[in-house]
């Protein structure tokens, strides 16, 4: 069964550094998403992406964040200057159409020191 993959599984970085989290969505899916989960809390929506542009974003997704689909298979989340409070599990998801099942990747655990 096709699945969403994410790399790396765990990333440790120093405060102020840039990080790029990578995702490979399911190949025929058209909608892509990033969510995050701070330890012990609920999962929160960050951004959705369709037709090579952001279709929706939350208030969390400020100017420090950006997303890109650099080629036909990868979908990336960049955090320009990480803060301690960016430490969280970041999940990528994809769906075939809007309103369809969103399939989640295994997550990248980001630790900012």
């Amino acid at each position: 069964e096709p699945e969403v993959t994410q790399t790396p599984s765990h990333q440790v970085t120093q405060m102020g550094q840039e990080v790029i989290l990578r995702c490979v969505p399911i190949s025929n899916h058209l909608y892509f998403y990033w969510y995050r989960q701070i330890l012990g809390q609920k999962v929160e929506f960050l951004v959705s992406f369709y037709n090579n542009e952001i279709s929706e974003k939350s208030e969390i997704f400020d100017d420090q964040f950006s997303v890109e689909r650099p080629d036909g298979s990868n979908f990336t989340l960049k955090i320009r200057s990480t803060k301690l409070e960016d430490s969280a599990m970041y999940f990528c998801a994809s769906s075939l159409n809007s309103g369809d099942t969103q399939y989640f990747g295994p997550g990248t655990r980001l630790t900012v020191l």
Partner: protein, 109 residues
């Protein structure tokens, strides 16, 4: 925005017991998904169920959209069912899923 409330927040069972988890939401939805978050943090899709009833093995789910709730049933629970169960909903015209705070299930041998 839409509110999602899950109950109970914590549930402890003996292996073999049955359980019902509830998800209430505050507005009409076009997407409702149940997830199991395993001890490694992975979100496992259980059901896509904006309305109706589905069954998959020992798990089943029912969503009554007109009354704005969904139920997840786990029968003959096993220790591997332990983890956090999340309900997440989406509204028409919005891409995002809004998650509840989850129900933490512990199944003891």
């Amino acid at each position: 925005g839409i509110q999602v409330e899950q109950s109970p927040p914590d549930l402890i069972l003996q292996e073999g017991a049955n359980s019902t988890l509830r998800c209430n939401f505050s507005d009409s939805v076009n997407n409702l998904q149940w997830f199991h978050q395993n001890p490694w943090g992975q979100l496992i899709n259980l059901f896509y169920i904006p309305s109706g009833t589905k069954q998959n093995g020992r798990l089943s789910a029912t969503t009554v959209a007109t009354e704005r709730y969904s139920l997840l049933y786990i029968s003959s629970s096993q220790t591997t069912d332990s983890g956090v169960y999340f309900c997440a909903v989406g509204k028409g015209g919005s891409e995002k899923l809004v998650f509840g705070k989850g129900t933490k299930l512990t199944v003891n041998p």
